[in-house]
Symmetry: C2
Subunit: 142 residues, 2 copies
């Protein structure tokens, strides 16, 4: 029951929030833009919910640590449920598919490099772009 998550985050349990959480959990893709979420809401018959609410809710979820936001190439930010485990992304430039990965070597080097350059590392963003070799790959959306 995801109402727990909402209450724990200090957010009132409302229909828009529940529905959006649900879509992020069982939606078509793990990485979705606000528009993607909004579109699915419409498809599911939740036509009273406005796009502004989707943005507001996603932003609140981000602040609450329920969701994380990524700025891949192409203007639109994408959101994904945050399971607490850090990871980076590789995005297919053709079909938009996103695959997550973690690499201890890279993580370690980043830390060292920051120290060498006199920085106290707080965060980082690593996105690889390439063409995936999936069967039906050649331009959808994700």
């Amino acid at each position: 029951m995801e109402s727990k998550d909402l209450r724990r985050a200090g957010l009132k349990v409302t229909l828009p929030r529940l529905k959006i959480l649900e879509i992020l959990e069982r939606g078509a893709h793990r990485h979705m833009s606000a528009e993607d979420v909004y579109r699915e809401l419409m498809e599911v018959g939740e036509e009273k919910i406005g796009l502004a609410t989707v943005y507001r809710v996603l932003t609140q979820f981000e602040a609450a640590g329920l969701v994380s936001r990524h700025n891949f190439d192409g203007g639109q930010a994408v959101f994904e449920l945050d399971d607490g485990k850090h990871h980076d992304h590789i995005v297919c430039t053709e079909c938009g598919d996103v695959v997550e990965f973690v690499d201890a070597t890279i993580e370690k080097r980043q830390k060292s490099i920051s120290e060498e350059l006199g920085f106290d590392l707080q965060d980082h963003s690593l996105v690889l772009y390439g063409r995936c070799n999936k069967p039906g790959c050649s331009g959808r959306s994700e």
Copy 2:
């Protein structure tokens, strides 16, 4: 003489283009947003040049490979002269200072990871965020 660069890129040699190139070469910072460039143009007395032209010119320079564009956190894209040598960035979250670096280990791992995941790597974006330890650091712009 930078007119060469322009001609080689198939661009007419015009005052806006020369001035913008000049600012990128001798400007206050190596990484500048379009607004930054525009602001310096105004300061230098080049007040006839419009912001739209700055954007257009920077985009053309990017297409010509003279300049590269980066999307760091904070909405505004930043541009830097492209010397052909690839590098990544570490950005100070306090003063906005940017330091460039290259790390062979990271580059190699990225390649391997892409292959392992069945991607043909085309490009990547790595940005580290942290606090730098420079003397006067605590919130400017760069």
